[in-house]
Structures are given as C-alpha cells and as structure tokens.
Amino acid sequence: MRAAVYNGIPTAEGNHLRIEDVPRPMLQSGHVLLRVIACGVCRTDLHIVEGDLPSLRPNLIPGHQIVGEVVDGGTDAIPLGSQVGVSWMGGTDGDCWFCKHQMENLCDHPVFTGYTVDGGYAEYALVRADFTFPIPLGLDAVHVAPLLCAGIIGFSCAQESSASGACVLPEYNRANVWACSVLGVPPHLRCPFCSPGDARPTSSHGVRHTERPPQSSMQPGSGERMTVPRLH
C-alpha cells in the first residue's frame, strides 16, 4: 500500500515524509483493518515529524484523525463496509487506576494513533476495534476527519470549563476559544457547539443547559452571554 512514512531523516528536498510502498498491515485479534478515506492533519503531526515529541518508532506512519471503511475484522458493532473514525487515543490497558475510574484519557499504558502505532497517512490502517467510532450517516468523511482531534478535544475542554454544571460566560470569554487559542486550533473549529445564547440539544448522555443569572463580579466586560453544555 502507499503510505507517508516518517523515519527521522529528512529527504533531499527537506521533506519529513517519504511517500512509498509498504506492506499492508495484517489483521490482528481485537483490531479492524480500515481502508482510509480521509485523514486530518493535526499540528501534533508536525510536533512528531519535527522532533518536538521523541521518536518512538524507526518508521512511523503519522495521522490520528482517520475516517475509514471497515474492510476486514468487522464486528456486530462495526460491520464490514461501515464507516468509522479513529482519534489520537488508539487504545488503553483498561486495567490501570485511571481506566478503572473513568479516566482512560490518562491511562498508564496508552496507545496513540499515528505515534506509538501507525496512523492514517496511508491507504490502510490497522486499529483497535474498540477505539473506533461509528460515523453517523450524513457526516461526510472529509469534513469529519478534522473534528476527530481538535473537535473532540475542544468539546472536552468546554465540558471541563463548565465542570460545575452549565456555565454562563461572556462572549469574549468563551472557554474553548481560550483553549483553542492556546492550542492553535484554527478559528473555523472554535466553539461550534456553544454559540452565544444557543440552547443546544441533548446528547446520548443528556446534555443539559441551564441559565444562571449573570454574576457581574465573575464576568468582566459586557459581552454577550452563552451557555456551555455540560454532560453528566
């Protein structure tokens, strides 16, 4: 298969990636083989190929915002032909203190897609079946791919920012705009799910949105106020 491979040695042209033929990954237990449809390019990929993050593999296929079609190893949950997404968290041990306390994001032995294992800059990707996310019909692969890191993380930040329940923030204080500004997330991904004044629908876990009376001492400025949904 064709793949973009990082081996730590720039090409003669100064490129970080070599576009070359590599063996298609073999199916392993608990995994599915995806035909990659689209893969978003994240700034973390840059950190990897520019050496800001230590190299962990002699040859690595980056890419952790993958949308692909299941072509081998399908399960009842994600049958052959279904379209799934894969993000940075490619696996956890499921056994450490963090995993047992609903904090798998802090797992002691994480698998990072496109960093500790090969990612989606390739025609095919082998991923853990239980770390794929079915893509709802109606969301197209190219536009979903960039949401699989920045979108999810921005969402997580917004939730943490309103950890005590739904919170009301001045417009210019949007929590995940702050977060995204620090992150370097591009403006077109900022805060799409909590526009000022919007009451948003429920999720599978029941997004709540409650209005609090403005507390001027906690809200400098006179910006428009918004409600950030918090999952419970």
Binding site: A3, V142, E160, A175
Partner: protein, 82 residues
C-alpha cells in the same frame, strides 16, 4: 475556568491578569480524550451539522499538507484524501 489541551506545549501564553484572571479564575489542563467524549461530540456534530472548512491534499502531497499546517497558509483544516 480555562481548560487547556495540548499534546505538546512548551510554554503557555501570558494571561492578562486584570482582564482575564481577576476574580478567582481557574486554569486546568486537559489531556487526551475518552471514547465517551468522542461519541458525545460526534453526535453533537451531527445534530448541529458542524462542518469545518477543509483543504484537501492527496497522499502524495502529504508533505505539502504538513507545511500548510505549519505555515497556516490554508483557511481551514488540511485533510489528506485517499
């Protein structure tokens, strides 16, 4: 509260104390994501019809895609399409 996520971040930008931190603000980091986060967000993305702007690249142009992200030359996310 300000929540900050970054896989790699060497320094946090400065925060203006008078405008941003006065009033007992909190700053916390957010590391990685959970599957629950992903599932909830994707449903929300579907419900809200979130559709970011994208610039597509072929796999052969993966280096150009990385460069576009580095130089912020595209008004949208870079996506490699196979």
């Amino acid at each position: 509260m300000v929540a900050i996520n970054a896989i790699h971040l060497d320094q946090m930008p400065g925060f203006d104390y008078d405008k941003l931190l006065w009033g007992e603000r909190q700053i916390r980091s957010v590391a990685n994501m959970t599957r629950e986060d992903a599932g909830d967000f994707l449903k929300l993305a579907y419900d809200l019809k979130i559709q970011p702007r994208v610039t597509t690249f072929t796999l052969e142009d993966a280096n150009k895609a990385l460069l576009a992200v580095k130089d912020e030359t595209e008004n949208g996310s870079a996506v490699i399409v196979l």
